[in-house]
Symmetry: C2
Amino acid sequence: MPDEVDLTTRRVRNPWGQGERLRTDILDAAVGLLSELGGEEALTIRGVARAVGIAPASIYQHFADKAALVRAVVEYDYERLSAVMREADESVEPDDAVGRVRAQIHAYCRFAIANPGHYRLMLGNRRLTGQEPGTRPRGPLLPIVEAVIAAFERCERAGKRLRLPSERAAVMVFVGTHGRVALYHSDRQGNGADRILPFVDELISLVFD
Amino acid sequence: MPDEVDLTTRRVRNPWGQGERLRTDILDAAVGLLSELGGEEALTIRGVARAVGIAPASIYQHFADKAALVRAVVEYDYERLSAVMREADESVEPDDAVGRVRAQIHAYCRFAIANPGHYRLMLGNRRLTGQEPGTRPRGPLLPIVEAVIAAFERCERAGKRLRLPSERAAVMVFVGTHGRVALYHSDRQGNGADRILPFVDELISLVFD
DNA sequence: TAAATCGCCGAACAATCGTTCGGCAACGGT
DNA sequence: ACCGTTGCCGAACGATTGTTCGGCGATTTA
């Protein structure tokens, strides 16, 4: 009897007929789990269901299986990262080409620091997402480095002298930044974060003459 | 009845009294699993036992628990990586300071390419090894970057002009290399490996004047 | 108002994991 | 020749995972 009461209250708390609402709730819960626990193993069907406040079985009404959920989360986060970098790019005055490079890279670092779980998930998602080798090289990542490439081309056009072709300079800075953040995440989290931005600044200055 | 026969043959195949032999067999099997499957989730007590040809329970005669096994594997591989880098360093003539830097970094890349599972394990082993945050920052890694630092100091002493203090240059090259390899591993494995060494060469040349 | 549909849930299933326990076969010492 | 020690094994336990199934209440349709 108390069970029915509990069920009723829950259903009042989560009224039906909201359509797509619950789907984004599930994605947000997954993102939250990834950010808090910080490990891809924290992303479980049961955990997400618990965080949302629904039954594990209900997840399957919105996602075919766990791989589909993970794919959606990864896609969602790539979009979030892209947005954050674009936003940072637009926050500096357009003529400051080097400043725009720095802003984008700094935004990348901040995102990676704030979302360790996502970061780990973006890498090595081959098994969880079920995509086999041989396919396109991590599709969602390409637009991000292309934004950095564009920023470096802007520098070149602005007369800044690069020690590398703009595309290679962009890849170099991006890869180096990625390596620094990955090393940070493999350590205990929290300490050393303040040394990341100076490092990438040093790295950026290295590709300029 | 046939079970007893099977048991007998197995015991003949794996005679007792060999002392420490089986312990290294277990470690080798773990290393093999990590290299083949390429994921830290492939490192299971049962899988290792199956690979060695013993019962899962027998593992606990050599390691207290799974965390101890993982710690031993990580330690073993750090040593192997150090040895490979040292060997590469000694394979070029001592006066070629830059060549020794390149040899060490190349050895690092080759190791990371050949042992993807180990690589993934060295990072983010916090959970598997059971060590909590706040401890020394990944102890075994320090000697490795110190070797690179020493190599760069040798370059400086040889009159090579660096655009960064030698220690920072070493960290920069190491971190960049690490990032390139991590990116390779997050992709499908196999493709793109031949572009890693050119990349690190370009990176190394960047820190020199 | 009766019927069909939709969204969710409780319960269970099979698989896998780390780990423990009691027992058995071979070896070394007496 | 006996016995304790050693090293291994089969079997099981408890926990957790992804996933499926039958059913039920609320909503919508006729």
